[in-house]
C-alpha cells in the first residue's frame, strides 16, 4: 500500500512524532438534498500515538460517525482521513479492509464476539483473518494478554458461557492481539455494571501506559472519560472542546455546559 506524503499538522507546524490518525476537513452528510443531515461538519483533528483519547458529546453529536470514518468503516462525503499515513479516503473497500485488519482494533458496546468461536479463537481471529500463523512471539503475546485480562481459565468457553465483563475482556484481548496502531472503543462500558466497567477502564488505561497503545474511546460517561489523557468534546458535528486529563466532576461540568449552550 502506497504511503502518502506527510500530512500537514492542524497548526501548520511540522511534527516530529506523527499522529496515528489525522482527520482533515472531514464532512459527512446523510440523506438527500431536501432532507439533509450533517453528521460531521468539516472536522479536523489529530489523534496521538501512545495516548488515550476520549471523544464525548451528546447523542447525535457525530462522535460515532467520527469513529466510523477513523476506522475506515465509512467514507467521508468530503475531506481526508489518514490512518498511520495511509489515505483511507482514497482506498478501495478491499484495501481499507486489509488496512483495518492490521491497523485497527475494535471494542464495541455490545462486545460483538463471534458466537460460534471460543474465547481464544476470538482473540486470535485477527491472525486467522489475515491468514497468518502465530509466531512464537505472537503466541507469547496472546498468552500474556489472556493472563493479564484474567481469561486463562476461559480459553475454551463460548461467548454465551461468559459474563458481560468477561466478554468485554475477550473483546479487548482481541483488539490488542494484533498490536494495532489504534484501538477504537465505542461505549465499551455501556452494557456493564460499575465493577466490570472499572475493570475494563483500568485494562484500557494500562494498555496505554504499559504498551504505548493508542486508544480512541467514544463515551458519554464522565467517569469513563476521566481515565483518558485527552478529552475531545463534540457537538452538532463540530469539535467544540479539547482538554487534557480531567476529573469526572470537571467533565460533567463541561458536558452540562454543552447542553446549556445548545439550549
Amino acid at each position: 500500500m502506497a504511503r502518502g506524503l506527510p500530512v500537514p499538522s492542524v497548526d501548520g507546524m511540522t511534527q516530529t512524532n506523527p499522529p496515528v490518525l489525522s482527520i482533515r476537513a472531514a464532512t459527512k452528510t446523510y440523506g438527500t438534498a431536501t432532507a439533509q443531515v450533517t453528521a460531521l461538519d468539516s472536522v479536523s483533528v489529530d489523534i496521538d500515538a501512545g495516548r488515550f483519547t476520549a471523544i464525548m458529546g451528546p447523542s447525535g453529536s457525530g462522535k460515532t460517525t467520527l469513529m466510523n470514518l477513523a476506522a475506515g468503516l465509512d467514507d467521508p462525503t468530503s475531506g481526508e482521513v489518514w490512518l498511520d499515513q495511509h489515505p483511507l479516503h482514497s482506498l478501495t473497500d478491499e484495501e481499507r479492509t486489509v488496512l483495518r485488519r492490521t491497523h485497527v482494533g475494535f471494542v464495541f458496546q455490545a462486545y460483538n464476539l463471534v458466537p460460534t468461536l471460543t474465547a481464544y479463537e476470538n482473540v486470535v481471529l485477527p491472525f486467522d483473518l489475515a491468514g497468518r500463523r502465530l509466531s512464537s512471539e505472537d503466541r507469547a503475546w496472546v498468552d500474556r494478554l489472556m493472563t493479564e485480562l484474567g481469561l486463562e481459565g476461559r480459553r475454551d468457553h463460548r461467548p454465551s458461557e461468559l459474563s458481560g465483563g468477561q466478554q468485554q475482556r475477550v473483546a479487548i484481548a482481541r483488539a490488542l492481539s494484533s498490536r494495532p496502531r489504534i484501538v477504537i472503543a465505542d461505549e465499551p462500558t455501556g452494557n456493564l455494571d460499575t465493577r466490570s466497567s472499572r475493570e475494563v477502564l483500568d485494562l484500557l488505561r494500562s494498555a496505554v501506559d504499559d504498551y504505548g497503545q493508542a486508544i480512541a474511546m467514544v463515551s458519554h460517561d464522565p467517569v469513563a472519560a476521566s481515565y483518558a489523557d485527552r478529552i475531545l468534546l463534540i457537538a452538532d458535528g463540530r469539535i467544540v472542546g479539547d482538554h487534557e486529563r480531567c476529573t469526572p466532576e470537571e467533565i460533567a461540568t463541561l458536558l452540562i455546559g454543552l447542553e446549556v449552550g445548545a439550549a
Partner: protein
C-alpha cells in the same frame, strides 16, 4: 390478532407456498396417473395396488414437505424474535401469536396447494394425451378430474397446519422483556433426551441385523421372502435414523465439515452449520431422504442388472429382464426425485434466512477485517458443509440398502456380494449437489457482501 403484525412481508412465506405447490402438483399428478392406469388396465386389483403405491410416494413427499415447512416457519420466526417480543411486551398473548402464525402459514399453503393441484391435474391430462398419441395407452374415455384430488389438497393443508404449529413453538418461549433489549437473546439450547438416543440406536441396530438376515436368506435361495425381510430391515433402519436424525446428521456435518480446512472462513462456516443442531437436521433431512431413496432404487437395479449380466441364460430372456428393470427403475427414480426437489427448495430458503439472521455478525466480521471474498467463501462453505454431508450420507446409505435389497432377491445366484454402482445416477446427483450449493449460496452471499459494517453495528 392480525397475522400481518407478526410477519413483516409475504415474501418470507414464499417458500411455504412453493413447497405446498410442488407437493400438491406432485400428489395430484400421481393420483390422476394411477387413476388413468387403473382405467386402462383390465385387471380389477391393479387399481388398488397403484393407489397404495401412489400413497406411499405421496406420504414421503408430504413428510419431506412438513419438515421443510417446520424449518421455514421456525427460521422466519427466529429472525423476528425482537418484533415478537415487542408484541408480547405490548400485551399480545403467546397463544394468540402462535395461532396467528399458524393461520397465516395454513392460508398460504392452501393457496399454494390449490394452484399445485390445478397444475398437476393439467399436467396429468397433457401426459395422458401424449401417451395416447404415441400409442402407449389405449384410446378410450379417461377421467379428466377425480374426486380423489381433494385428498392431496387436504393432506397438504393439514400437514402445513401441523407443521406451522410445531414451527411456531418458539413463539411461546420469547420473554416479553426481550423486547426492551432490542436484540434477540442467545441461542436456544436444545437438549436431546437420552431416551431418544437409546431408542434410535436400538431401532437402527435391529434394522441392520434384519438386513443381514435378509442377505443371508438371499444367499440361501429365498426370493420374495428375502425382499420382504430386506424391506422391513430397511424400514427399521430408516425409521431409526429419522428418529435419531438430530443426533446423527449434525455429527455427520461436523465430521465432514473438517474437510473444508482450517482457515477463518472455513472454521466459522463449519461451526455455523451446526450451531443449531435441530435446524441443521431439518434443513438437510429432506435431502438425505430424497438422495437415499433415489440411490437405493438405482443401486438396487444396478446390482440386479450386474447379476443378470453374469448369469448363463438365453439372450432373449436376458434382454427382457434388463428392459423391465430399466423401465421400473426410471419410473421409480423420476417419481421419487420430487421429494429431493422439495427438500432442495427448503434448503435454499433456510440458507438465505439464516444469513439474514446473521447480518450483525457479518458486519462485525467485516469491521474486524473480513474481506468481501472471505465472507462469500464463508457462506459457500457453509452450504457445502451442509448439502455435501447430507448428500454423501444419503448416497452411502442408498448404496447399502439397494445392494442388500438386490442380494436378498438374487444372492444365491451370485458369487459373493454384488455392489450396485449406478454411475450415471451418482454422477447426476453430484452435479445436482454442486448446482444446489451454488444456488443456495449465491443470493445470500451477494446480500452478505453488501452488508455495511456501519449499518449492521448500528442496530445494537
Amino acid at each position: 390478532m392480525k397475522a400481518s403484525l407478526v410477519f413483516g412481508s409475504q415474501r418470507q412465506l414464499t417458500t411455504i407456498a412453493v413447497v405446498a405447490g410442488i407437493c400438491g402438483a406432485y400428489a395430484s399428478l400421481l393420483v390422476m396417473l394411477s387413476d388413468v392406469l387403473a382405467t386402462n388396465s383390465d385387471a380389477s386389483g391393479f387399481g388398488a395396488i397403484l393407489a397404495v403405491v401412489a400413497m406411499v410416494f405421496i406420504g414421503v413427499a408430504l413428510y419431506v414437505s412438513s419438515v421443510v415447512i417446520v424449518n421455514c416457519v421456525d427460521t422466519v420466526l427466529t429472525g423476528m424474535m425482537t418484533r415478537i417480543a415487542l408484541l408480547r411486551l405490548l400485551g399480545a398473548s403467546a397463544t394468540a401469536l402462535r395461532s396467528a402464525v399458524t393461520r397465516r402459514t395454513t392460508a398460504v399453503a392452501a393457496a399454494g396447494s390449490l394452484a399445485g393441484v390445478a397444475v398437476g391435474t393439467v399436467a396429468a391430462s397433457v401426459l395422458r394425451i401424449t401417451m395416447v398419441e404415441h400409442g402407449a395407452l389405449r384410446r378410450m374415455g379417461y377421467p379428466v378430474v377425480s374426486i380423489w384430488l381433494v385428498a392431496p389438497f387436504l393432506a397438504v393443508v393439514l400437514t402445513t397446519f401441523a407443521a406451522g404449529r410445531v414451527g411456531a413453538r418458539g413463539v411461546l418461549r420469547v420473554p416479553p422483556a426481550a423486547g426492551m433489549l432490542g436484540a434477540a437473546t442467545g441461542h436456544v439450547v436444545t437438549t436431546t433426551p437420552p431416551v431418544r438416543a437409546r431408542l434410535s440406536t436400538a431401532v437402527i441396530g435391529t434394522g441392520a441385523a434384519v438386513l443381514l438376515v435378509s442377505a443371508w436368506i438371499g444367499e440361501d435361495g429365498g426370493t420374495a421372502l428375502g425382499l420382504l425381510v430386506a424391506f422391513f430391515g430397511a424400514a427399521a433402519l430408516g425409521s431409526g435414523l429419522l428418529y435419531g436424525a438430530r443426533l446423527v446428521i449434525p455429527a455427520v456435518v461436523a465430521g465432514l465439515g473438517r474437510l473444508l480446512g482450517d482457515s477463518a472462513p472455513s472454521r466459522i462456516a463449519r461451526r455455523n452449520a451446526v450451531t443449531n443442531p435441530l435446524r441443521t437436521t431439518r434443513s438437510t433431512m429432506g435431502l438425505v431422504i430424497g438422495v437415499t431413496l433415489v440411490t437405493t432404487f438405482a443401486s438396487g437395479a444396478d446390482a440386479l442388472r450386474r447379476s443378470v449380466d453374469s448369469w448363463t441364460t438365453s439372450e432373449a430372456n436376458r434382454r427382457d429382464a434388463l428392459s423391465v428393470l430399466t423401465t421400473m427403475t426410471t419410473i421409480l427414480v423420476v417419481v421419487i426425485v420430487f421429494s429431493a426437489v422439495i427438500a432442495a427448495v427448503g434448503f435454499v430458503s433456510t440458507m438465505s434466512l439464516t444469513v439474514i439472521e446473521r447480518t450483525r455478525e457479518i458486519g462485525v466480521l467485516r469491521a474486524l477485517g473480513f474481506t468481501g471474498t472471505q465472507v462469500r467463501q464463508m457462506i459457500v462453505r457453509e452450504a457445502m458443509a451442509l448439502a455435501c454431508s447430507a448428500i454423501a450420507f444419503g448416497i452411502a446409505l442408498g448404496l447399502l440398502l439397494g445392494s442388500v435389497g438386490a442380494q436378498s432377491i438374487v444372492g444365491s445366484h451370485n458369487h459373493g456380494f454384488v455392489w450396485g454402482r449406478p454411475w450415471l445416477v451418482l454422477g447426476t446427483i453430484v452435479v445436482a449437489a454442486a448446482a444446489l450449493v451454488m444456488i443456495a449460496s449465491l443470493a445470500p452471499a451477494r446480500r452478505a457482501i453488501r452488508v455495511s459494517p456501519v449499518e449492521a453495528l448500528r442496530t445494537a
